[in-house]
């Protein structure tokens, strides 16, 4: 298995490079239309918005009273002194690290258990663990909000645990993190399972013949081979958790206090509840830079660990 996310998959050797065949009739038209569509769409709906958000982050920008005034780096300076921003940043880091770690560990453990041990009902387990992932977040957040409810929720009525989860600043964020882990771990199970199924069987057999126990096999052969998939899961999770806001919006709206503010939620709040577009854009760019940096670091770690192969 090669690393995921490579841009040029290996081509069959049958088509020698360099000897270009003549373009067939219609090929050029189709290619030009597709390229034009990609360029036009991204120019209008991606590149232009990014540029205009970047410029907007240097402006005092309020759509309600029509203000659009250059203020230089003031939005960024304000960020540095904004305790809500710092709280949301540390919350987001805490949230992402724990949820991603749980996702990878649970995903790997369950996938390995299913792959190595389960003979019957494989499909059943895959389907069950993946179910929450393919369910709409808005609805799920409501169901969990009711599950955490101190009067009608299951923790109170079935388990007798009396904690007002979402209204207690110690428990609110962990409660949302727990729900997110529940919702998302199945994605990692599916991906790790598919990576396990594509492991080279002869290598595993050779190790068994050489007397490697199942733990040694896991530790020294399987886990290193799963490394590219692990990095893939970490990076995609990183990108998606940096953007998580729906569960916050529905379950706590950032409260109690500031205990569940996540960075994407304050962007939503600053932009569409306070209508401070300039400030929200500045936070969005900080988020973009952090995500890009962490992604680059993950790729770097991956490249070093696999000897520059990834």
């Amino acid at each position: 298995m090669t690393a995921p996310l490579t841009t040029t998959p290996a081509r069959p050797a049958a088509a020698p490079r360099g000897r270009r065949r003549r373009a067939y009739k219609g090929e050029r038209t189709l290619r030009n239309s597709v390229v034009a569509l990609i360029i036009a769409f991204n120019a209008v709906l991606l590149v232009y918005p990014i540029a205009s958000a970047f410029s907007g982050s240097f402006h005092q920008w309020n759509p309600l009273n029509g203000t659009y005034r250059w203020i230089g780096g003031d939005n960024y300076a304000e960020l540095l002194h904004d305790p809500t921003f710092w709280t949301s940043l540390t919350n987001t880091l805490y949230f992402s690290v724990v949820v991603i770690a749980a996702r990878v560990v649970l995903g790997l453990a369950l996938a390995y258990a299913i792959w190595s041990q389960v003979t019957r009902h494989k499909t059943f387990f895959r389907a069950v663990f993946y179910m929450p992932t393919v369910t709409p977040m808005v609805a799920i957040a409501y169901v969990w909000k009711m599950m955490y409810n101190p009067q009608i929720g299951i923790f109170h009525t079935f388990l007798g645990i009396d904690i007002n989860w979402l209204y207690d600043s110690t428990w609110a964020l962990p409660a949302i993190m727990f729900m997110t882990i529940w919702k998302d771990f199945g994605y990692a199970v599916i991906l790790f399972l598919s990576a396990l199924h594509s492991l080279p069987e002869d290598t595993l057999e050779a190790a068994a013949v050489d007397g490697a126990g199942s733990w040694q096999r896991l530790r020294h052969i399987i886990l290193p081979l799963l490394h590219p998939m692990t990095i893939f899961v970490v990076i995609t999770s990183l990108i998606s958790y940096a953007q998580a806001y729906v569960q916050i919006l529905i379950m706590t709206q950032g409260g109690p206090g500031k205990s569940t503010f996540l960075i994407s939620y304050i962007i939503f709040d600053e932009a569409f509840q306070q209508y401070d577009f300039g400030y929200a854009s500045a936070i969005a760019f900080v988020l973009l830079i952090i995500t890009a940096a962490l992604t680059a670091v993950s790729f770097g770690v991956s490249a070093r660990r696999s000897g520059g192969r990834a």
């Binding site: 995921p4 189709l30 597709v34 569509l37 389960v118 990108i239």
Partner: protein, 273 residues
């Protein structure tokens, strides 16, 4: 511990975890059939003591729930259809045609998948407002015309379509459009099913964009409708259970029917390279 015993114990552990995973769904479903008095009672059971359809019937009385549902369905289906088609088209060209700039375009598309929504949403909001697209279904569908994820996924799988088949068809005089529709599309059934479910789910659960774009209640989608419902009828737990059940069911049913093909397609997109 013998191998057999080990397997039994492990399957037991997995079963417990599986039951825990589906429990919230089961609880939601059964609670939707309980009268409100029972949902609030101190003495709880999983199964309703008294089954009632009141929660479901009540939804329509206080709220045009059916309208929200139909809007969501229409918008999600339109977005899914458009995205699938463009993803296949772009995926095919990027996988099978060789031209200058191809890798640059593909790299760019990979990059677009990493841009957080927060970066582009404010300018998009002001642009769509300036174009007079506020409160139209077009405003919901337009941003979904191209999907970076979809193109990535379909390109990966279309790279596997053998060149020989395409060449043979060309020699027989088939046009590119014909080859794409009659040969390439049917060969991509697995990734298409996976993308269909993902895209349908994302369109179905999307909250922020319809919340920003749609003002009239009769055009609103279910995800936003749910939040206004719970805001207005904050203590009607039974209604909320019924509403969430209905909003979860379509996606879950489609998933359970197609899950085999879907999982194969979803996994292949990530392992390939």
């Amino acid at each position: 511990m013998s191998k057999r015993l080990q397997t039994i114990v492990l399957e037991g552990v997995l079963l417990v975890l599986g039951v825990t995973t589906v429990f919230p769904f089961v609880w939601m479903l059964f609670s939707a059939f309980k009268p409100n008095s029972e949902i609030r009672s101190l003495d709880q059971t999983l199964l309703p003591r008294q089954w009632t359809l009141e929660n479901f019937l009540g939804l329509q009385d206080t709220f045009d729930f059916v309208r929200f549902f139909a809007n969501s369905l229409g918008v999600a289906l339109a977005i899914t259809a458009v995205t699938i088609y463009t993803s296949c088209l772009c995926g095919y060209v990027l996988a099978k045609y060789r031209f200058r700039g191809r890798n640059a375009i593909f790299g760019f598309i990979l990059g677009t998948m990493m841009i957080p929504w927060a970066v582009t949403i404010i300018p998009r909001y002001t642009m769509f407002e300036a174009w007079g697209l506020r409160d139209s279904y077009l405003s919901l569908i337009l941003p979904a015309v191209l999907s970076g994820f979809g193109i990535f996924m379909l390109r990966q799988s279309m790279a596997d379509v053998p060149d020989a088949i395409l060449e043979a068809a060309r020699i027989d005089g088939a046009s590119e459009i014909y080859i794409f529709h009659r040969i390439v599309l049917p060969m991509s059934r697995n990734p298409i099913s996976a993308l269909t479910i993902f895209q349908f789910l994302w369109a179905w659960e999307d909250y922020l964009w319809p919340y920003l774009m749609i003002d009239s209640e009769d055009k609103q989608v279910l995800a936003v409708g749910l939040t206004t419902f719970s805001g207005r009828y904050g203590t009607d737990y039974g209604g909320l259970f019924a509403a969430t059940t209905i909003s979860v069911l379509p996606v879950l049913i489609v998933y359970l029917i197609f899950q085999k093909r879907f999982i194969a397609g979803a996994a292949a997109a990530a392992v390939k390279g």
